[in-house]
Chain length 153, copies 2
Amino acid sequence: MEATEAVETIQREMTSFARRARASAGRLHPELSLVSYTLLGHLEESGGCRATDLAAHYALDKSTVSRQVGALERAALIERRQDSEDHRVQVLHLTDAGRRILAQVTESRRTAFRERLARWPAADLERFAEYLVRYNAWPGPAAGSEPGPPAAP
Amino acid sequence: MEATEAVETIQREMTSFARRARASAGRLHPELSLVSYTLLGHLEESGGCRATDLAAHYALDKSTVSRQVGALERAALIERRQDSEDHRVQVLHLTDAGRRILAQVTESRRTAFRERLARWPAADLERFAEYLVRYNAWPGPAAGSEPGPPAAP
DNA sequence: TGTCCGAGTTGTACTCTGCAACCGGACGGT
DNA sequence: ACCGTCCGGTTGCAGAGTACAACTCGGACA
């Protein structure tokens, strides 16, 4: 396979993945959409942050985040805490229920991945993981100009 | 990196990709949504097929495909031809305009990919491409049970 | 104090999607 | 040949996810 051809293939396959991703989104875990899952995961990693941070990080409109956060709060998966320093700010935190659900969904996704990758040699897994990290890491910051997902489709 | 850890990483990175994919969907190529692009691409590859085939292949509802196809026809990017064998069937074909638009979008996505992958050694590109194909190919047919995209986040 | 800024909310509109009901052609058994 | 069933496709309806714009409220700085 030649390099140019490889680029084509990567483009096509990543696009294909994104397409299927979108198509199957939410069907496997009706209780947690892709966006909700991602937001919850971010809260877990960061240990609490503001809605605006989420919006900036994921290139979503603040109104979208506001509604998602509202839904997650109504579901009692997260809670808002007024920031004592700046009363405009609400710091979002996972609740115990949120942590539990997040763990469940993560586990179930992990199972699906394990199944899919079960027959791969360890060396290939490691290289594949490394490539993905490298691809996603890219310059990074310039989220706006991100060609990233081929138009992420 | 250990194999289990590699699986985790692959899961996380693929999820990350899907998330960004969704977030930036449609913004780069307003004239052609991800689904439209994919359908057009499929028609080009297959040289014409039925709406039902598209629905099955991409795990979309036939009504969704019907509407997408309607829009693409209204935009004069595809045309329907009655099947002479089975009058229920409409075989979809790209028009010249469709082929042109598809080529444009493909080229623009290709450019973005090239930029992103510019500094990769050829050997890595080839392996990465191969891994993606292997990942996406998987068993394949069982689209319904597809854990695929980690719940495509 | 007054003005400007930033965090969040809400109203509105649009797209994508799935489900269910429906139409009409094709096919098989009697 | 007739009828029941199956299948391809369309349409009505509902819901999720978004974006954009207008608005509210607290904070910062002159």
